[in-house]
Subunit: 408 residues, 2 copies
């Protein structure tokens, strides 16, 4: 057993955010460090879904679109998410998935700039971003350029129609300086789309103050919206009226219930809606966003930093064979911590078998989400203690932990 | 009170499908005739969602993607829907919404036919179909032509890249002859996309036998999948490999968890996936599809016809001021019945106030869904009895029933 459990307990006892763990239903025997992939279940979600199913759907039936506000859910939940990223009312709408929303933003932006023929993104970015951009480029006869992270700014040129970046990198946790990138892109007249999937609900964001005009984000990670929860789109108010996504559907029409043949985009962000939204998943997301009610995001980030430093120190002390790949400067990282080890895959499987759930990302990364609403210092201690025991015992070398899987 | 209640009771008693109503949770005091807009709540859905939330998400957390088969849900549920439309295994996948799926099919098809410059659809079709097609046309420099229903076949020409039709019309209930349209389009080399939103789970379909190669459909109407349930896509097996939707995301990649920058489409229908699917809404859809287990679709359609004839006869007898607009030939209609009345809007509101839920479609249609899994002959009797009482009393002329609404 590694040293320091009492200290971890003391840190938990002194943690002003410790009370928020009670907002979640977590299994007792699990250390959950994958809330950056799938956020934990808020206790409020069960009641919200029971009501949505039994009362709203079961009793009020189709009248719920008005009576229970289903029709306004994309805007209503969007406004709540806006407060988490520093946007204003009417600047965020919840709809579809991150992938679909990137498609909408990209098509709208590149069509505004017909003389510019490239889309720029980062090599090794979360792949859906590159796949969507490649599809847009292929469809509209543009070229997708993928530049290495430190070569992005140098690659900005007058032929670039849009820059698509993920704010916090899914593998390493490295964070871009949003304001600096925005300023460099603005000099060239290039719009930037920020993928906030690993940022929203994790680190304090000032989307307006940083000069960001376009963003998407994920509902099922730090926002605790449930598996595959809908994503969201942010467009700064003054930019909304000029946006014409290539994909337009009835929910984005200015008057969907007039049932007329001609499409006129809805006011503001409404034009980013397409089909009928998946209400059950939407209402679970609303409950997830509610887990941030009354939470000071600056305090949340402070605790994330403490969890990070504590994790890094325990690892250096007890598991020196792992290489920390996440930047140590808090301004340059998100809210997960990643270590490289050539046997990351079987080691992560061995951890899961012992009730410590992090995840593995190819080729050699073991990644742990630091979600301060429910992760305790004792969880970190248990994770490192378990990992140290696995490494000492060599049990991760058993064949069952090396079996391939479709999902990690 | 209108005549014939005893006869309605006798019809219910003799109904071999009457037992299936017990599969649904319906409020006692409501006559629900809007299952073609939002299907009723299957009793099994609550248990399925409780398990999905409390056990799968709450306890198994992120491991549920493998352990509880979340990752295969789009294919698994798709295969079950395939059996309802006459498709084969691997020909249907559940994903996104009807609107988004039309976009994927249209972009893939028109890009295969660069020399053809128009998309053809029906004027007055459900508007999302026209809006999506207009967006595709606008993006790819094509022209969208909308022809009247009876002028569609004459409008097919060698410049047409795709024909997009809704099999059963959302207002009138009129049904296209699928095989005849397919044959006429095939002569000109034109692919047809069928929107099955008002067909699937309502009328027997032989998608293969009718020569259909491309279709989309809705999960929240006759399939009872819950509000905004995901839609589905059908592509005939031999046509799948050539499909390249303009929108491509990580779930459609051949190996999403390899996290590589280059996109290679997944095998078969997998390429139609984009982002992470909304699992809670997906699993509710799975329970909804389960409400058809052991149901003979031919018997279901036979009961739909009986409900239709009974409704039409009672209306002719008791509410002659309404004009039946749905074709009376069963081969030319779907599973709802529509009547025109210039004051359809306040009349429908008055019906809802008395617990009879149908719906209104602009400009003058009152529409009633005949969903034989749970609609009884006594429900039809009650609906017409209520309507007759409203018409006689003149109470629908009260101002509160004329108030505008955003949703009907």
């Amino acid at each position: 057993m590694i040293a320091g459990f009492t200290e971890a307990e003391q840190r938990d006892a002194a943690d002003p955010l410790g009370k928020f763990r009670a907002r979640f239903s977590l299994p007792e025997d699990v250390v959950y460090l994958d809330g950056n992939s799938l956020g934990a279940l808020p206790s409020a979600t069960k009641a919200a879904l029971d009501d949505a199913v039994a009362k709203q759907w079961g009793c009020d039936l189709v009248t719920s679109w008005n009576r229970n506000g289903w029709i306004d859910a994309p805007q209503r939940i969007g406004d709540r998410i806006a407060t988490l990223i520093g946007g204003g009312p009417g600047e965020v709408i919840v709809t579809d998935s991150v992938s679909v929303n990137i498609f909408k933003l990209l098509t709208a932006l590149v069509r505004q700039r017909p003389g510019r023929r490239t889309i720029l993104s980062e090599a090794g970015n979360f792949p859906t971003d590159a796949y969507v951009a490649a599809g847009v480029a292929d469809t509209l006869d543009l070229t997708l350029r993928l530049a290495d992270r430190d070569a992005i700014l140098a690659a900005l040129d007058d032929n670039c129609a849009a820059l698509l970046l993920t704010h916090v990198h899914y593998r390493t946790g490295a964070r871009f300086d949003m304001a600096a990138v925005n300023a460099a892109a603005a000099e060239r007249g290039i719009p930037v789309i920020w993928d906030l999937s690993h940022s929203v609900g994790a680190i304090p964001l000032d989307i307006r103050g940083s000069g960001s005009e376009y963003a998407v984000g994920c509902g099922y990670k730090y926002l605790n919206g449930g598996p595959g929860a809908p994503g969201f789109v942010y467009v700064a108010g003054p930019r909304q009226a000029a946006m014409q996504p290539a994909m337009q559907g009835w929910m984005g029409h200015i008057a969907p219930f007039d049932f007329i043949d001609e499409f006129t985009p809805g006011q503001g962000m409404k034009r980013f809606l397409t089909g009928t939204p998946p209400i059950l998943s939407m209402l679970a997301l609303e409950a997830g966003v509610g887990s941030f009610d009354g939470v000071d995001l600056a305090a949340l980030w402070q605790k994330s930093s403490q969890l990070f430093n504590y994790f890094a120190a325990l690892m250096a002390q007890n598991c020196p064979e792992f290489t920390l790949v996440t930047p140590t400067d808090p301004l340059q990282r998100g809210s997960h911590i990643s270590f490289a080890h050539r046997d990351g895959w079987p080691i992560n499987n061995a951890l899961i078998a012992r009730g410590v759930i992090g995840d593995y990302r190819t080729p050699d990364i073991v990644r742990f989400g630091l979600t301060p609403l429910y992760v305790r210092f004792t969880d970190i201690w248990r994770a490192v203690d378990t990992l140290a025991a696995i490494m000492q015992s060599g049990k991760w070398q058993r064949p069952e932990f090396s079996a391939p899987s479709t999902v990690t």
